[in-house]
Structure formats: C-alpha cells, structure tokens
Amino acid sequence: MGQRFGGCLRGLGFRLRQGKYQRELRDEMREHVRLKAQELTAGGMPEPEAMSAAQKTFGNELKLREESQDAWHWNWLAALIQDLRYGLRQIRRNPGYAAIVIATLAIGIGANTAIFSLMNAVAYQHLPVPRPQQLVYFNWSARHSIRAYSNYNYGECQSSVNGTSGCSFTFPFYRQILHDTKDFQSAFAYSGIYPLHILNGQNLTSEQGRFCTSQFLAGLQVRPYLGRFFDSADDRAGATPVVVIAYGYWSAAFHGDKKILGHAIRVGSVPAIVIGIAPPGFHGLVIGEREDLWIPAADAGRILNVPQQYRAWMRTNGSAWLELAARLRPGISLAQARTAADAALRFQMSHGASPIFHLRDQPKITLATMADGLPRVSKILLPLFDLLMASVGLVLLIICVNLSGLGLTRAQQRQREMAIRLSVGASRRRVLRQLFTESLLLALLGAGLGIAFAYASSGLLIRFLSRNWGHQLDLNFSLNLPVLLFTLAIAIFAALASGLIPALRATRVELYARLKQMREDAPGKHRSRAGNVLIVVQTALALVIMGGAGLLLRTLYKLETRPAGFSERHLITISASFPHAAAGAVSGWRRMENLRQRIEHFPGVKSATIADMPLLSGESSTQGVKLRPGRPSLGWADALWVGPRFFSTMGIPLLTGRKFARQEFGPMSPQPKSTAIIVNHAFAHQYFPGKNALGELVWLGPKKPFRIAGVVGNTLLQSLRGKIKPVVYYPAYLNGGVMLVRAAMASAGLALPLRRGMQKLDPGVPFGRPQSQIQIIEKSLFQQRLAGILFSLFALIVMALACLGLYGLLAFETLQQRREIGIRMALGAQAAQVRRRVVARGLKLSGVGVAVGLALALGVNRFLSSLLYGVSPMDFWALFSASLLLIGVAGLACWLPARRSARIDPWQTLHYE
C-alpha cells in the first residue's frame, strides 16, 4: 500500500515536471539510437545507413515516448477526457433523456442549494467586527423574573416565556458591570430594535433603530466611515440628541451625501444631529437583520414617547429594558468572566438600593458568545430551515431513486454497447468509470442549472419571509465557497445515487448470454427486482413527505379556525404614536380619544376602540400578580391597556360585573385615575378558584391595589398557538397605541380611506399602515404557512415522481412482456384480466411502499412536532389521507400501461416474433 502510494507520488512528481522529463526521455532515446548506430558502424556498415537502420529498429520514437509516459499515470486524465467526450456524445445522441435527467436534478440540487445558502447566510456567519469571538452577551435565569416594574423582551436571546430567564437588565446593573469587572475590555448596553419614524425634509419613512450606551460602537471595535461615534457626553440626560446612521441607509436615503453630517433629522418627534456614518458591511448585532440607525440610550424616553412618569425608571432599577454585552480581555475565559459577572450581581443584591433579584430567586448570570450575533433571526428561521433542509434532501433522494429507475431502463437499451465494449477487452472498472463520468456530467450540468434555480427560488423565499417579518430581511443568496462546495458534493452524491445501480447492472459480466440474447426481449428478472425496490423506496419516501404536508396543513387549519375569543372579521388596526405633548397642550391620549370618537362617525364604521398593542401579533406584556401586598407574586397575567368600547368592539362577552365607565379612562401611569380592572375568566378561575372574583383586590404594580370590576370571556392575546392565559385589562393607554376599528362589512376597501381620514383629522401624527386583524393573524402564522406551502409543493413533486417511476416501470414491463401477454390473449385471456394483472402488480408495489412509508413516517414525524398544533405527529387522518391519495394516484399511473397491455393484438405480436 505504502509503496503504491509512493509510486503515485513519484508519478505525480513526473507529471508536474512533465516538460523536463519528456526532454530527458527524448535525449535518452536519441543517445540509444546513436549507440546502436555506432555498433553497426563498428560492424562495418557505412555511417548514414547505420543511423537509419538503428532508427528503424528503434521504432517510432514519439509513440514509444508516449507509451513510456503512461507509466507516469498520465492515462487517467486522458481517460477522463475521453470519457467526457463520450458522455457528451451520449447526451447529443439522446437529448430527450439527458434533458429530463438534467432538469430533474436541477430542481433537486437547486432546492438543496437554495436552502443551504440561506442556512449558511443565517447560521454560519460571524459579526463583521474585529475579533468577534471576544464578544459575549449576558443572560439571567432565576426562579422569579427580574424585579423591575417593567421587563422588556425583544426576542433577541433564548429567553423563556414564563419569565424565568431573559437578557434584559436595568441601567444601574449595566453601570455596575462596567465599573466592577476588570475582565472586560469594554461593556455596553442596548435596547432591542425599534421601528422608528424618520422625517428627513419632507420624507417620512420607518427605519430600524437601536438605542445604545456610548460604548456600543467603540466596544464592537467598529470604526466610523465618516464623522465620529458616540462619546460619554452624548449619553447623558439633557445632551443634544445625536444619531449615527448605517452606510446602507445613508447611501439609500441620503444618496451618500457627506453634508448630512452635522445636520438634524427628525427621529419620532425629536430632532437629532447626524454625527457619524458606520462603515459598509456593519449591519448591527443580528445576522439577517439590518439596523439603520443608533441613538444614545438617554434619548430613548423622548423618542419612544414614554410618559414622563415612567422615564425615570429607564435610568433606575424600575425598568429592565437594556440588553448587555461585553468584550472579554484577551486571555480571559468565559468561565472567569462569568464568575466576575456573578460577583457583580451578588454585590448589587446585597448593597444595591433596589436589588434586581432577591437571594431566594437564586439568580444566575450566564454569558453567551456573540460571535455569531444575537439569535433573533436564527432562532426563528433555523428550525424552519432545518426542516426544509431535511425535506429537500428527501426530495433529492427520491429524484435520485427515480433517475436510477430511468437509468435501469436505459441500461437495458445499452446492453449491446456495453457487451461489445466488455468483449473487446475493456475492464469492468474502466466501463464503470466511464458510466459514472456520464452520470457526473449530467449531475454537474444539473447543478449548474440548479444554482440558477436556487438563486430564483431563494429570492422568492426571502421575499415571502420578509413580508411576514415586517421588513426586509438582510439575507441574500450568495454563491460563496461553502455553498459551491455543498452543491458540488450533492452533485457527486446525486451522480452516484442515480448512476450506480444502472451502471453495475449494465456492466454485469454475462457476455455470452448478453450477446446471444441481444435481439430478444430479455426477461430481465434482475432488473425487475431492482426496479421493484426502487419503486417501493420512492413510494415510501413520498408518503413521508405527503404525511408531513398533511400534518402541517391540518395544523394550519386548526390554528386558523381556533376561536380567539373575539371576532377577527371586519376589524382594522392602525397604529398611532403621538409626539409627547408640550406643557399645556392637549395630551396624546386625549387626542387619541378624540380621534376615536370622530372615527366612530365615519361611514362604514360600526365602532372603534384603542389598545396599547394589536392582538395576536406575538407581542405581550406580562405582570406579576399578588393577592396580598409585599408577598411574592403568585403567578403571571398578560396585561392590556384599553380604551372605551373595547369589549363591545372586539366582541368579547362580559360574564359578570360591569364594563369600564367612561370617566374611568385616563393616561397610563403607575397611579392611574381609576383602580378598576377587568379580568378574564381564566384569571378569575386561577386566582379565585371557586369564588366570585368580583370586588376582590389584586396587587399588580408597586403601589395601590386594583379592584376587579368585571369578568369577561377568555381571549388569546399573544398568539393563536399559545394557551389561554389570565389577562388583566386596564382602562388606560399610552400616547398612542392601536386604533381598532370594527367595520360594518368587509373591511378591505375601508382601510386606506380610514387612514387618510385620520391623517386629515390629526396631521403630524405618524400613523402606521392599516392592517386587518386577519392580516395580523396570517403574519403570525407565517412559519406554519411557509412550512405548509413548501411541504405541499414537495409532496406534489415527490408524488408525481413516484407515480412517474411506477408508470415507467409498468410501461417498460408491459413492453417486455408483450409476447407473453400476446400468448395469454391468444389462449383466451380477456382484456379486463390482462388489465387487472398490470394494475394489481402496480398497486401491490405501491401498497408495500405505503406500508414502509407509514412505518418511516411514524419514526420521523416527531421531528415536526415543534411546528404542529392540536395535531399529533401520528395523526390518523393526515397519514390515512396521504396513503389514500398516493395509492389513488398510483392506480392512475398503472391504468395507462394496463390499457396499453390490453390493446396488444396477439396475432400481430406473435407474428412479429
């Protein structure tokens, strides 16, 4: 073995220095001829004659040289070229077959490349900053949520919904980390991404902004492209608001005009001076998202219109609204840094004025690497992409199996060619290699076309994802090295998987029999057995995907028809955000209320109400519930701040008690005008089981208790997938929120005129785009819908492929057996009997395939369970209907060959033989 390897190496050495060795070989041979001539001259021959005689005995020097060079293993390349030429000739000779193979492989490989390229774009990227491995972000986990009055969850870390882990901290805790810990080069804090209204001259647009402490960009070690980044003076209460904008946003919105530096743009209602432009390539902290601007955290309160009463919380332990990250010093391990962070937390708990955790909460800080950015996009898309990757892999497998079947038929046709090649002395290995080169050539052509297909289809997929994401995702199909290698690898795999069995079959050495029976129609028993297996495998794999599609579609149906507890139809939502009112002016919530009353008189509007956020959009805010002051929370409740006529507009029934009275409504504040709350039935049931909850006191905030004035029906607030949770409704709202408008009839035509009307009533307020409640629900279900649509598409493809394979096999067999069928019919078999025989054979095969597929599906479908709702992974109806459909279509695929077989004219067939 070692010697053989050494030989290969030496051969390679000769090949690499080919020119030199060829020259040497030539010189050597010429000297040989001369020596020979000399001997002949010595023997008495005249010199010129001796030379030519020596030349003659030596033979053709050029040919000899070529033969000698064969020892350098040159032949494999020559053979490859020969094989490639031969393959191309095969394609030209049979373009129809080649076109089918290339096109199917293009779809199979292209789908795989598309999904892999998106996965690659989401998952295996580093933040484009220097030494991203040094970056970590902070997470907490504890028995009780962080002890702040408000606790933000931006969905940027792997936090749990029940409030026992998260990555939001308070501003004082950030200061503590910054000052106490020596293991970090820098620490910085930031909010989640907010869509912000930007007014630049006359242009009002919505852009993605992030609030951050002054060390944010410096800590990431990003260098300004132009201007400067923040310094600590910018992140102080009372400082002039400033903003750094992203390169992409700068080029798109300001056409790369450098004069924008030092000028103000309006962010929300606050003028902020553009001080710097981030370098191209830096898109923020989330791979797959694009951040357009960064603003000092000190300005967040004003820009986000947080009521004055709450603003102080943003700089105290009242609000956990900042996420925290740091850059480790070189040589400091994650564990060391974690210990330091834990010490800072412990210090804060024992010495801080208002600890963010109690000791009994058993809080823990963990540090997660931020090298790949924050998992905001990847944690949602990756599970989906994993699933898609698995299913497109299956599709490719089925395609290969199918092509393998097609190749078997072709192998039969090429038997004669193979037999001749083998009989004139080609080794089986050599012929196998040539057949594989042919498969590989087809697969590579398919892969080339597949890359174009991947480009187009991933574009569509990104557009679909982005539409449901709310804004354009920063994902692109890019043909980089990993994607190319992946495509190449699966092309080679496809060539092997689709070409191996036919090639082995075609080159099976039974030369004598082969040559003898060349003109007869071979019974082809072996071929049939291989063909049967391929059909069963295809059918089984098709059933797995079809069953999966059935499960996902049933989930979608269950979710879409799940009662949300309110009426979703004819409901329009328009978000509004009022600039913070100057002293003495009419406050935002009052303006919102005026607007609401005027809207109710619009033609086509039944009623209108206000809530602090749209329902079923995936957002929620949660509060701890206490039944006695000073005690730990008993549990949690979702909170919704609502305006007048909320329950009647939404169609939520009042079970007991009363609704809010008009005079109870007021601005949202820790000390509201009214202490009346309304709770849902689940709340009453959980906290006052077996009792009448009416009139009971509940402690929800830091101060006074609230009194339950009414109990309403249960609703789903956050998402259709969630459980029914306890809900508290307050008669108050912010300087803005969502206007919920119930139209008298179908609302599609009403939405835009409504928004225009609102704009006319209160110009200067940035209203959001109107959305119907149905649209919001659909958006929240996009993961299910995408999976459902794609799986159904794959299911259709693989079902068609499986049936095509079955059809091909039966048609081929019928053709082969026409003599036998002819004899049967001549002996009196009825057409119906002949047909039945073919159909029965096809159905038997697909029946076995379905059975195998069901067994597979039972094993595999649990991987779908994270995408399922209300449907078991082994749901009877989904699997049953998929089986039925598959067998039905397979029956159709059998029918055509069956009909053809029954049409065989026995006399003609026998005569032909």
Binding site: Q3, G7, D27, E28, L35
Partner: protein, 108 residues
C-alpha cells in the same frame, strides 16, 4: 539468427537483475540481456523504455545522467534497496513458477 520473445512479465525482473551488477544506460541493458542470454533474448526498445519508466515510478531504480561511450549524455539506471528486495521476490516467484511448469511438463 532466430530470436526469442521475452516471456510476458519477466522483462522487469531481467532489467533489475541486469542492474544488480552495476549501473547501466538503456542501450547497455538491452545489450547485456542480449549477450548474457547467448543472443537468444532480444529486448525490444518498445517495451524497454516503458518498463524503465515503470520501475522509476515504483522506486525500484534510480536514474542519473553520465557520459556515454561516445562522450555524450546518457541516463544510467541503478538499483535501489527496494529494487534489490523486489528482485529477490521476483526471482523466487519465478523459480517457483518454472519448477511448477517443469513438473507439469514432465508428468505429461
């Protein structure tokens, strides 16, 4: 003069054996085999040079340039340690095969 073909598969062995006596160039090898075999065996150039390349690639011989008899450049081949071992193996197997063939011939 009647010449015999060199039995298939034995050329490499004979080249190695010839080189065991000392380095030679291609022409020298052919000459030597011709002489030693009593002018019975004639090495075809058409098979000698591919064989030499094969032996070079396998590492059984080494080649060096040196002056030829008529004072030009010629390539001299020399046995390597691996070549010497290979020669032993081939001689042994050849002996075995010849003995076996002889037995078959005598029994008939």
């Amino acid at each position: 003069m009647k010449r015999s073909e060199i039995p298939y598969g034995t050329l490499d062995m004979m080249v190695l054996k010839t080189l065991a006596a000392g380095p030679k160039h291609g022409y020298g090898i052919a000459q030597r085999i011709h002489q030693v075999s009593g002018s019975v065996l004639q090495v075809e150039e058409g098979s000698l040079y591919p064989a030499l390349q094969r032996l070079l690639v396998k590492g059984w011989v080494r080649a060096e340039w040196g002056p030829s008899e008529n004072n030009r450049r010629a390539r001299y081949y020399q046995l390597t340690a691996a070549g010497r071992k290979q020669l032993e193996i081939e001689e042994m197997e050849f002996e075995k095969a010849i003995a076996a063939i002889r037995q078959v011939l005598q029994s008939a």
